[in-house]
């Protein structure tokens, strides 16, 4: 108990020191960045050698290394080359093909826990839509989805090129808000949007919004973009809106469910897929609007290297343990 209290006090003191005493912001020079990378590599080799010698590390050491791999790249000046995949380019091409004034339906089916992956996609999507003068109709099948959309829009409007467009609520974009009912909402929207969204996010009646006044159902939508973190999400949109009503749809997914979207992509049910943080970074590159997706990818790659290194170390420990067991027998 006494030791635990000491550790918590140390965390608090370090946090307070970082908050009040450390000069802000911190940025490593390329030389320091490479020295840090080498030090981490040396530490991993040391752990590997100790493992071969039969001295195993505890799980907290693994957590510590993953934490270091995630945090340190925030301060480094190293960049990572991003390669554009065909599925991401499909989303970009589909949006670029739309004529100015086209109506795009954006469904935000996620909440804050999935924001690190999906929020950069949302921000880039809005930036591209504003640049192309597209009309965006926002909605959500998850209660916090429309709030995430509002946050992404606010962030988008901080960019001078977006702010200069004078994007007006009700005319250029609307937020219809959240509606409960999962795939039944999509089903009803196939015949009548207004029956599911009698009022928008702010309580304005549907017919008072010039942008959606003449939008009856999916036939009035030129393209749809879905940001999904699970159920209800892309699968339900494909099953109901795409396959039944012929909606053209691209999607941005959390990495967890991205693999299950590839069959839909190959079958042409989806026009493009952004998978996880990598997809967000690629989309930023395609749109030439670098943001958090690109920035986070260095941390992502670093942490993957650490995970792979510990998989190798773990396997070494496992096989050595098996060998010792056989020798004893």
């Amino acid at each position: 108990m006494k030791r635990d209290m000491l550790i918590y006090s140390a965390i608090l003191i370090i946090a307070l020191l970082l908050y009040f005493a450390v000069p802000k912001p911190i940025a490593f020079s390329p030389t320091v960045s490479y020295i840090v990378i080498v030090l981490i590599a040396v530490a991993l080799i040391y752990i590997f050698i100790r493992t071969i010698q039969g001295k195993y590390v505890g799980r907290r050491i693994v957590f510590l290394f993953v934490g270091i791999a995630v945090v340190l790249p925030f301060f480094m000046t190293v960049t990572q080359p991003i390669r554009l995949s065909p599925e991401v380019k499909m989303v970009y091409d589909a949006i670029m093909k739309l004529k100015p004034g086209s109506k795009v339906l954006a469904s935000f089916d996620y909440d804050p826990p999935s924001a690190p992956e999906l929020q950069p996609m949302a921000e880039t999507f809005f930036r591209l839509c504003i640049e192309r003068d597209l009309k965006v109709i926002i909605m959500g099948l998850w209660p916090q989805g429309p709030q995430q959309a509002e946050m992404a829009l606010r962030k988008t409007m901080t960019f001078p090129e977006a702010a200069s467009k004078n994007y007006k609520y009700g005319v250029d974009y609307v937020n219809l808000g959240f509606q409960t009912g999962n795939e039944f909402v999509i089903q009803r929207m196939g015949s009548d949007f207004k029956s599911m969204f009698p009022n928008d996010y702010y309580g304005t009646p549907y017919d008072s919004l010039p942008l959606v006044r003449n939008v009856k159902n999916f036939s009035n939508i030129d393209y749809s973009f879905n940001l999904s973190a699970g159920y209800p999400g892309t699968v339900e949109w494909v099953q109901v809106a795409v396959d039944r009503y012929g909606l053209q749809m691209g999607t941005g997914n959390t990495a967890v469910q991205a693999t299950s979207m590839y069959p839909y992509l190959r079958a042409g049910q989806l026009i493009g897929l952004l998978g996880g943080l990598n997809g967000a970074a690629e989309f930023e590159k395609a749109c030439n609007k670098l943001g958090k997706g690109t920035k986070f990818m260095v941390s992502q790659s670093f942490s993957h290297v650490i995970v792979i290194a510990f998989i190798i170390i773990g396997n070494a420990a496992f096989f050595l343990g098996e060998k010792k067991k056989r020798e004893k027998e």
Partner: protein, 214 residues
């Protein structure tokens, strides 16, 4: 107020992360508050969206009296709280199960079976059936072969009417390899997703809260 919010968020983030060290009272407090707030948030959201916006305004302002049917079914569902007449709650439950099953059968059969089967039955070396035999690129041809072999051997693995020996055993082995590679890809993506969550929180701690990131 914004700074206070940042400190509160940082307190809870660090509290939840402290579980990595070991289970502790700080983590328990954060977890309990999160569960309570989530339950409260859902209750309030569903009350205003369903009961007020859809039902009350639907009947009072838009004159949609068919909503009473849903309201009555909803009330019947709540009768399970009274043990003597709790059996009535089975009726709305049967309605929900029936309607959902009916919708799901159509949706899954059309999108996940018919379209996917159609898409699997593609020529190996051509882009489409009406194209010349070797019109596909090497990359696409390899992709088509992988899909055909993977699907066929995967199905063989789940075919239990014949013992997995000899030719059948070889096919089943390729099938299990295909399935394992799929699981591996899925696991890789899952690791990427979980790391993204950690990156998001660390960006909050070191960026938004401590303001150490440029």
């Amino acid at each position: 107020m914004q700074i206070f919010g940042l400190w509160v968020a940082a307190f809870f983030t660090l509290g939840i992360i402290s579980f990595l060290y070991k289970d502790n009272p700080w983590y328990k407090v954060c977890e309990s508050i999160f569960v309570g707030i989530s339950a409260g948030y859902w209750f309030v959201t569903l009350f205003w969206d369903n009961i007020y916006s859809l039902f009350y305004l639907g009947v009072a302002e838009r004159g949609n009296y068919s909503l009473y049917v849903g309201a009555v079914l909803g009330l019947m569902m709540l009768l399970r709280l009274i043990p003597q007449i709790g059996w009535i709650s089975r009726w709305p439950l049967a309605f929900v199960v029936g309607a959902t099953a009916g919708l799901y059968i159509i949706n899954y059969f059309a999108s996940n079976i018919m379209v996917q089967v159609e898409n699997t039955l593609t020529p190996l070396f051509a882009d489409a059936f009406n194209q010349p035999t070797f019109s596909a690129s090497v990359y696409n041809s390899i992709g088509n072969i992988v899909v055909a072999v993977g699907t066929f051997t995967g199905l063989v693995y789940f075919f239990f009417s014949k013992e997995h020996k000899g030719f059948m055993g070889g096919m089943a082995k390729i099938g299990i390899w295909t399935i394992m590679i799929t699981f591996g890809a899925s696991f890789g993506y899952t690791v990427m997703s979980r790391m993204s969550l950690l990156i998001g929180r660390m960006d909050f701690i070191f960026g938004d809260w401590l303001q150490l990131i440029k």
